[in-house]
């Protein structure tokens, strides 16, 4: 039966190249939703530093809210389950896909539909926000590089919106 199982991505695996910006599908990742009353509780379980400030990232962990973090990690990493501890570590790997928007016009492209001022969005910051009507998570990985997490069911629409905006 496993022969029939293969990854079926909602968007093209061929990067879209336009003037000053490229849009591509990120490699498959493990994603975990981390919930706890304090960052310290998660640090004890995961044995890594967990950012305290909303919007900060630290080694693949982004702080999205006062009690919510998103952990992105390579597909072969083992993550503790946190069973019987006062934390919730939930595997949400297949809920979203990642799009990488790269190039000198990357911020401009995202701002066609996202109301945040991404010119003043520091490298290393992450936030949940909205593009037109679709909820996304933006992580600025570099001056010209953004990682955009979007729910799988919205991804085809977002890809179309991004490529249409990039071609203008």
């Amino acid at each position: 039966m496993s022969d029939a199982l293969f990854r079926n991505e909602p968007v093209s695996s061929t990067p879209y190249l336009a003037d000053g910006v490229s849009i591509s599908l990120a490699a498959p990742l493990k994603r975990y939703s981390l919930r706890a009353r304090s960052a310290e509780a998660l640090e004890t379980v995961l044995n890594v530093k967990v950012p305290q400030k909303i919007g900060a990232t630290e080694g693949g962990i982004a702080c999205l809210g006062p009690d919510e973090w998103l952990l992105r990690t390579p597909a072969d990493t083992a993550v503790p389950t946190g069973a019987e501890l006062p934390v919730a570590i939930t595997d949400i790997s297949e809920r979203a896909i990642g799009l990488v928007v790269e190039g000198p016009r990357a911020a401009e492209l995202l701002m066609t539909g996202c109301p945040l001022d991404l010119d003043n969005f520091a490298v290393g910051r992450a936030t949940r926000t909205i593009y037109e009507t679709v909820e996304i998570i933006i992580i600025r990985e570099g001056e010209d590089r953004f990682h955009v997490e979007v729910w799988r069911s919205f991804a085809a629409w977002l890809w179309t919106a991004f490529t249409a905006a990039a071609s203008h």
Binding site: I54, G55, L64, G65, P66, E68, P115, L116, T127, R128, T129, I130, E135
Partner: protein, 90 residues
């Protein structure tokens, strides 16, 4: 576009990231079964509709996800202040 200060993110964010969640400081009676029908109706359905200063609950739904309280002028749509849930009425 209006910018709303989220007390949890501690920054001004665009209004489309937020959702209004009705009047603030409506406390659920501690012992619902002791309430008369009129009292329960008042708790469930009767809301203030002031012209001017209004205390409201808002949620930063496309952001940190938290509920907070805001004082908004219903005439000018200006936000006077926002503060975390659980803090005293301002």
């Amino acid at each position: 576009m209006i910018l709303i200060h989220c007390p949890y993110c501690d920054e001004k964010r665009p209004e489309i990231e937020f959702a209004n969640a009705g009047q603030a400081h409506v406390a659920r009676p501690l012992d619902p079964s002791s309430q008369s029908d009129e009292e329960w109706e008042a708790y469930l359905f009767i809301r203030a509709n002031p012209r001017g200063r209004h205390h409201e609950r808002w949620r930063h739904v496309h952001g940190c996800g938290r509920f907070f309280n805001a004082v908004r002028d219903t005439v000018t749509d200006k936000f006077e202040t926002t503060y975390k849930a659980g803090e005293p009425r301002r």
